[in-house]
């Protein structure tokens, strides 16, 4: 890791609400999140030095979109850095934003993601393509199959059950009924029994729901500038790691950090979390609130294990013992998680977790508020954990 010249502070952020009208263009969607985030941060458009933007190149026809984003956000001639790196691409954008500030090159940077997954069918974001297309999707394997295979492997290796998965999803729904931004906010609360059934219908309920079109953004600045905008600055750190895209190669890949693990562990997230914790100067034991990006509950278990909240294979125990709920040392998925906040893909899968943790540290979460958290951690992934991102926020007041 190279030398950093200053800490990076987060001033505010926003996620667009569910049910964005279908006739909104991606430009409107991105601009909406950008303006909401600037408002939340108290920053004026002309003060922004750079926007780092993640988008899903499968779902829009425009190419080489840097200049187009700069135009939409009225940033030109200032730079826009565009990345396309699957669902956690907005985490990669935030990594670039972090670097621009930590290096001293920029003072105020917006990290932004947008996705128009509803331009295709309702399950597009989870189902449309493979990780290594020639050898999975084109041979009939979907993202959902990837998740099912990984879950089966994890369940047999560590003994987690469908009831454990139902418990995770039920808690996500409980939080989502207290988060107006969640896709399931106003829908009837499912029962634990309903979620525990061993049927395809219940399995669909235990998986993530799709948010459709969504965008998110947050505003970062150098530590010495933060006082101009807020008396409650939040330090932000982020790291990410890759694994090979073909899931068969999650087994004992011959490089440091990935060797010795298999499909039942998120070794890439372990690598990313280790770096993010080191940069932030904290450990997993300091975490007082946690958000993970989970398309299935078993994946949620794997994520809290990789982040160090539970030992490997013990994620279900963490939930059974009440660790996920308010009142525990580190509640998990207070934003509602994949099953109930909804899968936002490149639009928000990483940033929604960062923004929720930011609001939790500042005490702005209403009925789902966690008491006394000083450090929040979150994770997100792309292409079934061949990309994993870990974020850490901490109070600096």
């Amino acid at each position: 890791m190279g030398k950093t010249f200053r800490k990076v502070m987060m001033l505010g952020g926003a996620v667009t609400p569910p049910s964005i009208p279908m006739d909104w263009t991606w430009r409107e969607l991105a601009t909406e999140a950008y303006c909401l985030a600037l408002d939340a941060a108290g920053v004026k458009p002309r003060e922004v030095d750079l926007a780092c933007v993640a988008y899903n190149d499968r779902t829009i026809v425009d190419s080489s979109i840097g200049p187009q984003v700069a135009d939409a956000l009225a940033l030109a001639p200032k730079p826009v850095l565009v990345t396309s790196s699957a669902c956690a691409g907005n985490g990669v954008a935030s990594w670039a934003a972090w670097n621009a500030i930590a290096s001293g090159r920029c003072d105020i940077v917006v990290s932004l993601g947008f996705a128009r997954s509803d331009n295709y069918d309702a399950m597009e974001a989870m189902n449309s393509e493979g990780n290594y297309c020639d050898y999975d999707y084109l041979m009939g394997l979907t993202h959902i199959n990837y998740g099912g295979l990984r879950d089966d492997y994890y369940r047999r290796k560590y003994g987690a059950t469908i009831e454990d998965a139902a418990r995770w999803v039920h808690q996500c729904h409980w939080f989502a009924r207290r988060n107006p931004l969640a896709a399931e906010y106003s829908k009837p609360m499912p029962s634990l029994e309903e979620l525990s059934a061993d049927t395809p219908e219940a399995e669909r309920q235990r998986q993530a729901t799709n948010r459709g079109g969504v965008a998110s953004a947050f505003v970062l600045c150098g530590e010495e500038i933060a006082g101009r905008f807020t008396d409650k600055p939040v330090q932000f750190d982020v790291a990410y790691a890759y694994r090979p895209p073909y899931m068969g190669n999650f087994n004992d890949w011959p490089v440091e950090g990935l060797r010795g693990f298999d499909m039942a562990e998120l070794s890439g997230l372990m690598v990313a979390a280790k770096e993010a914790y080191a940069m932030a100067g904290v450990t997993a034991a300091d975490a007082g609130v946690c958000q993970v990006h989970d398309l299935t509950a078993f994946e949620g278990f794997m994520a809290i294990e990789a982040l160090g909240l539970a030992p490997l294979g013990k994620g279900a125990d963490y939930v059974r013992s009440g660790g996920m709920a308010l009142g525990s040392k580190c509640p998990v998925n207070t934003y509602g998680g994949g099953p109930a906040f909804g899968h936002g893909s490149v639009g928000c899968d990483f940033q929604a977790g960062v923004i929720e943790n930011f609001l939790q540290l500042r005490g702005e979460c209403g009925e789902r508020q966690v008491d006394g958290a000083r450090v929040g951690v979150n994770s997100s992934y792309g292409t079934h954990h061949s990309l994993d991102v870990a974020g850490v926020v901490q109070r600096r007041w």
Partner: protein
Amino acid sequence: MSQDFPEALVRVDTFSSAVWYRGKRGRYLIEGSRCGACGRVYFPPRKGLLCPACHERRMESHVCADRGEVVAHVKDDLGFPAWGYGDDLPRRMVVVRLDDGAHVLGDVVDVGPEEEVGAGLRVRAVFRKHRREDTGAWVYGFRFVPDREGGA
């Protein structure tokens, strides 16, 4: 450019499954790669790529074992099959650890609806039709069937 190929660039760029798949021996033979320096076996193939283990660039063709054991299984019954695969549901998707150590994703066919397909099942690779493209071309590739004869 010639009379036979008046629009050479268009022909090269136009998507054709027949042309594309002709170069995908990995889909037919489970052909992967073996590092000529350290001997590590890879699938999918890494022709022309670096070896992650030793960072040498000496990949050689390697036809993987055609038998192995199921290590993960899921029934594809949630109603969102891959394009072109919706006629034969539910499919039995698997991860197979081949006898030479490579892990390969695929599906098990030639099993009855109630037949158990789960971890530990011995399977062997077979060459089968997968689906028909809009162009009319058939897509072929490997699939797995239970290895009822047993043995590696």
